[in-house]
């Protein structure tokens, strides 16, 4: 999977917006931005600086970046702009060494670092990680329709546990799947595409007016166990060829190792035999580590969602 240039741009702009960064300049190909304190902490990797600011209460000076999404077009823009500007005077002494002289780099807080963001670039990865770190756990309510405020009867809301699972199928290679599941803590009803349902709703962090939240009948633990059971059943119904093949490879490799070490393990010298035995064990360990098929289910994020109860 990957992301197109447009998707990356949208993504980064969304992140900058959510973290309340100040946009200084923007074109279809780039954005220049002064980071908010939160984004600065997420992206610039300066824990000591922030520790200092927090201890002393000094006014923080966040960093600025120019994120370029379309380097080719942006460079063309720059070149065009440069053409229209007068050329800087060449410095006689420095010019002798460097030919055309380039302006001295600006240092300090007013310096704006340029970063080309493409899929796979470390800065984008950092933004991804920041989103993962700060978007782990939510507690939300479906916003009520405007009419709700006027009606007499409070709307009944039903609490759901929603979890975005990641399933990793590993051997010496790996494949992943995402599953977005929800369970009603009131009725035990399962929504196998809970994520899609959430996308169609407007969600707010505060309880809307004139809303009645039904008490839960399922404990959170029961909810979790049910979701895990569903995942397990699904996985077990999957084609297991990949795991069988990995096990075959594992057995073949183990046979090779056995073949190699059988003779060596007959060494009459106890000392040497012990060494060989160690090597043998550790090689077998490595091989299992490499090939043994296993499945890990973790959650990317989760939350409690209070949604209008549709009886």
């Amino acid at each position: 999977m990957t992301m197109t240039m447009e998707q990356i741009q949208q993504y980064v702009l969304a992140y900058l917006d959510i973290t309340e960064c100040r946009i200084l300049e923007k074109s279809p190909h780039h954005v220049t931005v002064k980071l908010s304190p939160q984004a600065d902490k997420d992206l610039t990797n300066r824990p000591y600086y922030w520790g200092f600011i927090e201890r002393t209460g000094a006014e923080p000076e966040t960093m600025s970046f120019k994120f370029v999404f379309d380097a080719e077009h942006h460079d063309a823009d720059l070149a065009a702009a440069e053409q229209n500007e007068p050329k800087p005077q060449e410095d006689q002494i420095l010019g002798r060494h460097y030919g055309a002289i380039r302006p001295l780099p600006i240092l300090g807080p007013s310096r704006i670092q340029r970063e080309d963001l493409a899929f796979g670039s470390p800065r984008l990865k950092q933004i991804f990680d920041a989103a993962l770190r700060r978007g782990r756990c939510v507690y939300l309510f479906e916003s009520a329709a405007p009419r709700q405020r006027m009606t007499l009867l409070p709307a009944a809301y039903e609490p759901w546990l929603g979890v975005n699972f990641k399933i990793e199928f590993c051997c010496d290679m790996k494949r992943e799947e995402l599953r977005s599941l929800g369970i009603s803590l009131l009725t035990g009803q399962i929504d196998p595409s809970f994520g899609t349902r959430l996308q169609s709703l407007s969600l707010v962090p505060r309880v809307p007016e004139n809303v009645h939240i039904e008490p839960t009948r399922l404990s959170l633990t029961e909810g979790r166990d049910t979701l895990e059971r569903i995942i397990r059943e699904e996985i077990e119904a999957y084609d297991q060829t990949w795991a069988e093949e990995a096990n075959e490879r594992l057995q073949e490799e183990l046979l090779l190792i056995d073949g190699y070490y059988t003779d060596l393990l007959r060494d009459p010298d106890e000392e040497r035999k012990k060494l060989v035995q160690e090597q043998y064990e550790s090689r077998r360990g490595e091989i299992r580590w490499q090939y043994e098929p296993r499945i890990v289910v973790s959650a990317i994020n989760c939350g409690i969602f209070h949604l209008r109860w549709m009886r």
């Binding site: 030919g99 796979g120 507690y139 090939y291 959650a299 409690i304």
Partner: protein, 587 residues
Amino acid sequence: MNPHPPNPAQPLLQPAPQIEFDRSWFEDLNSRLDKGGPWDDWKLFNLAMEAENASLVSSFEEILCLSHIHGVEPLPHQTETARKVLFEMRGRAILADEVGLGKTIEAGLILKEYMIRGLVRKALILVPASLVLQWVRELNQKFAIPAVAQKKQHSWDNDIVVASMDTAKRDPHKAILLNNEYDMVIVDEAHKLKNKKTTNYQFMIQLRKKYCLLLTATPVQNDLSELFNLINLLKPGQLGGQGDFAANFVVDKRIPKNEEKLKEELSKVMIRNRRSDGDLEFTKRIVRNIHVELSPEEKQLYDGVTSFVKDQYHAAGGDLSSMLSLVTLQREVCSSRDAVFVTLVNLSKKLAPDSPLRDRIWDLVGIIKTIQANSKAEKAMELIREMNDKVILFTEYRATQEYLLKYFRERNMTAVPYRGGMNRGKKDWMMDLFRGRAQVMIATEAGGEGINLQFCHQMINFDLPWNPMRVEQRIGRVHRLGQKNDVKIYNLSTKGTIEEHILNLLHEKINMFEMVIGGLDVILERFEKEHSLEKSIYKILLESQSDEEIASRVDSLGRSLHKLKDELVKEPPKESSGTKLTELMGG
């Protein structure tokens, strides 16, 4: 994203893979519920999902890393090698490409792919000390892999560490490394692991690793058992036990048997791309020698310096070792008066105030003052104007470099310098300037990595190093994989000087300018078993009485080099095993 270490408690054979539930999310949720928050932002919640969706590893067998890599465009054979290692060899392989085909790129691709898939978090890269920084730089720049060079003991805590083998195998580092386990270990120049009695080998055997790449251009140097040892680091048993291997595959230590079978077994653990395999053809080298006539003043300086150097040599009783700075003088005089001047001044500073040599030196300086123009610089300028294209000009001397910068500048030719002593940032900057607006780069250094000038295909040797390997390094900067044009090489040599003889030797006798890369080092290695080529040239220069004598002695030097070359070409019958072995690996 966590790679999983083996769990020895598990039974070995399982009908279905175990499913492990990571419940950290549940604890997190519960604790937030207890404390009534804090709760995360719904939009970030969605961005997190979007990120995971984009980074999802959706299939077992598909190379994902290409869409993540922007610092390098891998060549087809490199991608294909990565694919084979990942999906057929399962991450344990010997990468044995011939020199210059990009083993580092292949290793980087493989490492990156595993990292993207979350199968490698901790990796250890062991390389010769001189290559540590270069590896770090390549991994960072080309693959955006956050590798660090091992400097202090705590460096080992980083996920991706590049270190020298010599450091790693010594305590206290060794103990730390052996206590760890690595998702991936890469060893560059792995032929240093061919002998299983060495500490290198013992260390590697003890190191715990999941995936492992061994990089070497010469998997077999002398003996088939070297290959056997190397493979046993990766996959013991692939070629059977020691006894089986000897019985099944070896006739003599250099002659294999059951080649088909051996080839097949090898192909399961080793990949060797060769230059002759097709798409990897290099472009041609076109050489033009330009003979420059010295002006009378320049000729006078040359003769003056030559006789000065010779007299000193005889006075020193033919002892070469004390003569090095003087020989330098002899070489510099072929380059520029500026270079000679600096050395002369330094020389006179070292002499006693009443030394009679001082006068001779000042006489020479006097001649320097009479020189108005540099014939070579004029010629170079003319050439550059003529080609009207990017060109890299090499000189051995800093003073010449300075002079040329000034000379070109005065004539409105944009030129940038490049020196070994520049720091990394400055080197990169100069490269950028050259790629951008400067027409000429004037470099004093060809060795060392980092100057890859595929975008330029003209080079001028303003003066010639007397060591052919250095000439080859210079050419290698432009004539490398990725160069799309034929490379034009201009050699400037001054008539009636030693330079003419040297050029004659390198060009006519061993035809080194047009030789395939990789051939020269073998010839030189053999030649220099007895004596260094550079020293031989010094001796000729210092001991000859006349120009004719120089010519004839250079000629005989050339013949002995030529003979070595012929021997190498003809070697197959004598060394059939060697060729067969290489063929074997090619398969």
